[in-house]
């Protein structure tokens, strides 16, 4: 018998009792729905990390000073993370490729009579590289064929050299908007401006930027700013030694855990961290990686996902048993039909295929309905899970595959029973 004929026969069989087939599908529908929503939650957690932690590169260990709660107030757990901590890091930890450091604060920037109030940033010579790796901004007009690189951020002039950063040169680089505001179209290069109470020479201007996240295009002022060498900022802009943000970029992301351990050892040495009575270090710093953040986000969705996974398994098993039950009833009701088919020469394999196809058709229809239901219930799940559930495209074929597999697994026994019928007994069956 040709497959088309078998399919047609199975289709008629499945449609013979529409209500029964529809009710039988229900378990599969719920199961497939659960699978899709469950995967959407995991995917949503990942997407949320991608959006909210864009600045945290996958090669980066973000280090910050630890604060502890003392009588309701956050206080430092030990020493501050300072500029020198980051400075010695690449030499002390070979797994680290480069380090970006930054400090920041409010600044009143003045050139002649023009004044801008903005945020200054003290950065290293790798400042543009960290700007690029943060992924938060992109060039406003970049039509060039070649990919965008960190040096392309400079519109005019140049950025700081490592030597200038080390010696604390009185130089600065302006954001595109700030340069326009202060100099009103004149060439700013070589002129001296005032950042709070310290003078500095403008050596470069950035190109015009836009936020990478389109939702922030109208609120974020990415073109306002002034960059100083971090040593200059630490020396001139703060009354006392400021805390710096340190991001250690590792050479190989697969060795990020080893790098973390080495960084901890290095900082414990510099900060003379002691052990508590249990022998654990009383660290005064915290380290964060993208995996940590993702893990935390996934953990938040885990309870819900586990619930859904359990629901999916139970629904699919119950749905499968439902299919098996309906197919057994169908085989029994249609014993006479099977007898007729066998008598006119249907091969046992033809009968197996016919009934197996019938159960697979039911489960596939349930799978399709479940897929639609899944897509429709994702927003509901999102509202129950702090708004993060995003359809995972691969979950549709996966869920359909699961549905088909359920149809095959639970349909095979009734189909075999049909094919094993004795033609004479089947014909005589009342």
């Amino acid at each position: 018998m040709t497959f088309i004929n078998l399919l047609r026969t199975a289709w008629r069989g499945a449609l013979a009792n529409k209500l029964r087939a529809a009710l039988t599908m229900l378990g599969i529908v719920i199961g497939v729905d659960s699978v899709i929503v469950m995967l959407a939650l995991g995917n949503g957690a990942r997407a949320a990390v991608d959006t909210n932690f864009r600045w945290l590169g996958s090669d980066e260990v973000r280090i910050s000073e630890r604060q502890v709660n003392q009588n309701g107030q956050l206080v430092l757990a030990g020493k501050l993370l300072v500029y020198e901590d980051g400075l010695g890091l690449p030499a002390a930890v070979p797994l680290v490729d480069w380090v970006d450091m930054s400090v920041g604060g409010p600044a009143r920037v003045r050139y002649g009579r023009n004044v801008s109030n903005l945020i200054f940033q003290g950065v290293t010579a790798d400042g543009l590289r960290s700007l690029l790796s943060s992924g938060q901004v992109e060039p406003a007009h970049w039509a060039a064929e070649r990919p965008f690189t960190a040096p392309d951020f400079i519109g005019e002039g140049r950025f700081f050299t490592p030597a200038e950063v080390l010696e604390g040169a009185d130089e600065c680089v302006l954001g595109w908007q700030t340069a326009n505001d202060l100099f009103e179209g004149d060439n700013p290069l070589g002129d001296t401006i005032w950042v709070n109470r310290s003078p500095c020479t403008v050596i470069g201007v950035l190109i015009e930027l836009v936020p990478s996240d389109p939702t922030q295009r109208y609120t974020s002022q990415v073109n306002a700013g002034v960059y100083l060498p971090i040593s200059t900022a630490v020396k001139d802009q703060f009354a006392s030694e400021p805390a710096v943000q340190i991001g250690a970029h590792v050479k190989d992301t697969n060795q990020i855990r080893q790098a973390q351990a080495a960084i901890a050892t290095y900082l414990r040495g510099r900060h003379a961290v002691e052990k508590d009575e249990h022998g654990n270090f009383k660290d005064d710093f915290d380290m964060t990686t993208r995996d940590d953040v993702l893990g935390a986000q996934l953990a938040a969705a885990r309870t819900f996902s586990l619930l859904l996974a359990a629901m999916a398994v139970v629904s699919l098993v119950v749905g499968g048993i439902g299919i098996m039950n309906v197919m057994l009833v169908s085989v029994s009701e249609r014993t006479r039909e099977i007898g007729i088919r066998l008598a006119v020469g249907a091969q046992p394999l033809d009968v197996v295929t016919q009934f197996l196809l019938e159960s697979v058709l039911i489960s596939a229809a349930g799978g399709v309905a479940g897929g639609v239901a899944g897509i429709l219930t994702i927003p509901l799940a999102a509202s129950l899970n702090q708004g993060v559930a995003v359809l995972e495209p691969g979950s549709i074929p996966l869920a359909l595959g699961v549905a088909l597999l359920t149809g095959i697994v639970f349909g095979i026994y009734p189909a075999l029973r049909a094919a094993r019928l004795d033609p004479i007994e089947a014909l005589r069956y009342e």
Partner: protein, 244 residues
Amino acid sequence: MHRKGGVQLNAPTPAGAALIVAEGLARDYHLGSTTVQALRGVDVRITAGEFVALMGPSGCGKSTLLYLLGCLDTPSRGTYRLEGRDVAHLGAAERARLRNRRLGFVFQSFYLLPGFSALENVALPLIYQRGRQPVNERAAAALERVGLAGRAAHRPNELSGGERQRVAIARALVNQPAILLADEPTGNLDSATGAEVMGLFRELWQGGLTILLVTHDAQVAAYAQRTLHLRDGRVVREERHDLH
């Protein structure tokens, strides 16, 4: 699913040649600890073009014999050659193939598929054959042969008893079988309709078809060339009829 080679199928057996040669056919049924001997050693020889009736009271084993000869069942003992081929020990799949290609069945209760049209019912044996062929055309031709060309689209419940049996006969003919096996074909019909159906059988036989028919009705058996009388699982008498 289908094995190639072996006996060449659909090669018509010439008239007068041995079509069915069965010797010592026996069939035991095991019911719990007791064994019922439905057939106790029967010899049957049917040549191509013959019209043979099996007669006997209920429980004499005539249906059992028909099912054995129709490859719906396998004998407990004895030999059976169909068109020269030993078919007594074939497996279920091989017997299904033989029924599909070489045999046609007509039953007392018609056994049509209720949800399917007359044409679809007639086509049923053909869709279980491999390969592309004009299934609907052949089915329509078979329906025409039994005089039901105008009823092709009707479902069984829209047909009279006689029409249903004729659809069943068309289904039995559609694969051009070597022999038509009929089990009480008039048992569910009134005598007038039964006579019509038997007239059709005679026509088909006169057209060259080999027919083996089971009945307990002497009037029905009278249509055949010869009658084998069975009793308690044995052939007790053979009778030749003068055909008019």
